[in-house]
Subunit: 188 residues, 2 copies
Amino acid sequence: MGDRFTSLYAVRSGFFKSSGLRDNGRDQVTRFSMTGDVLGLDGIGQEHHICNTVALEDSDVCAIPFAGLQELAHEIPSLQREFHRAMSREIVRERGVMFLLGSMNAEERLAMFLLNLSRRFAASGYSSSEFHLRMTREEIGSYLGQKLETVSRIFSRFQQEGLIGVQQKYIRILDSAGLERVMARDSD
Amino acid sequence: MGDRFTSLYAVRSGFFKSSGLRDNGRDQVTRFSMTGDVLGLDGIGQEHHICNTVALEDSDVCAIPFAGLQELAHEIPSLQREFHRAMSREIVRERGVMFLLGSMNAEERLAMFLLNLSRRFAASGYSSSEFHLRMTREEIGSYLGQKLETVSRIFSRFQQEGLIGVQQKYIRILDSAGLERVMARDSD
DNA sequence: CGGTTTCTTGATTGGGATCAATAGGAGTGG
DNA sequence: CCACTCCTATTGATCCCAATCAAGAAACCG
């Protein structure tokens, strides 16, 4: 964070968390990234990065010097288009998080979080039904706008209800349809 | 929302709200836009718009056909750069809302909201210290992730504390430094 | 005007935060 | 291999902020 923006970073493998620090020292996890995600798009506007990103396991990234990308994109329209799509997708992704934080309760948030992780692991060729969480309960809570105790409690509740299996950081999705139901529960 | 993406829209004057509808009918205000803001960037990725935007007063927008913009930007590097900045700024803006929703209490949210509005009115050449809210309490609440009663209560509280003057939709900022203090209150 | 929407304010409730104590790993060094 | 420490997770008890329920009041509008 604060470093001059020069490159984008495409995740080739591994797992990352990004967090932003605010005025008075409060900071918040804004994203978990894995294979295929592009990091650093936020830096283009003010020429400086606005968040820190840390690898949570051994990882590989491909640094893409932005100036070079621009030149190349000027020659190759399909690359330009793909770059614009990536930015737009980032906007849409954050829109989803805004929705989560603005109008879902604790259970709904965690259900959405798990389903989202599951889907992304599947997209990267891993199992969608069991995986190892790379982040702590506190980091999950920070991302979801809740406290680590709440995260822990709801994991336990989901387990009691047979929706998931939890053993520390090892998670099994036992009833993804059930999680969908929790997430979409009509709370009006 | 759902319409095919063809154009961006630059706000020339007026005031807008954008809202997204979710699975089960819940919807949420995701943005208030005014002069200088660009609408529609979210549509690039999936070729369809993902939110509705409604004018809250007589307004003017300039529709910018995206295909044409791309051609022009290909010729004019500075335009291309400005376009990228606009997208990146949108990402950063949403990051700010995520932070607001994820780690601020009701008073802090409303203080931030008012200061943000004030700053943007000033940037558009209007008074930063008094303005007319175009949206209802319910819409403010939806944007800030709280209920309309809470918004109303906190307006009253701020007024009692001499931070602002409230008369329905007419707002006067009496002590912006005080609002800053409320917003940045060290709540750890 | 009467009807409707929006806003304010009070009383009560409830979900998640906070405080607190314990347990479980993981890593280190003996 | 065990003893020790540190970090992380779980679970219980209590508290508090904002949601909910409810009733008026104020503004807007045809």
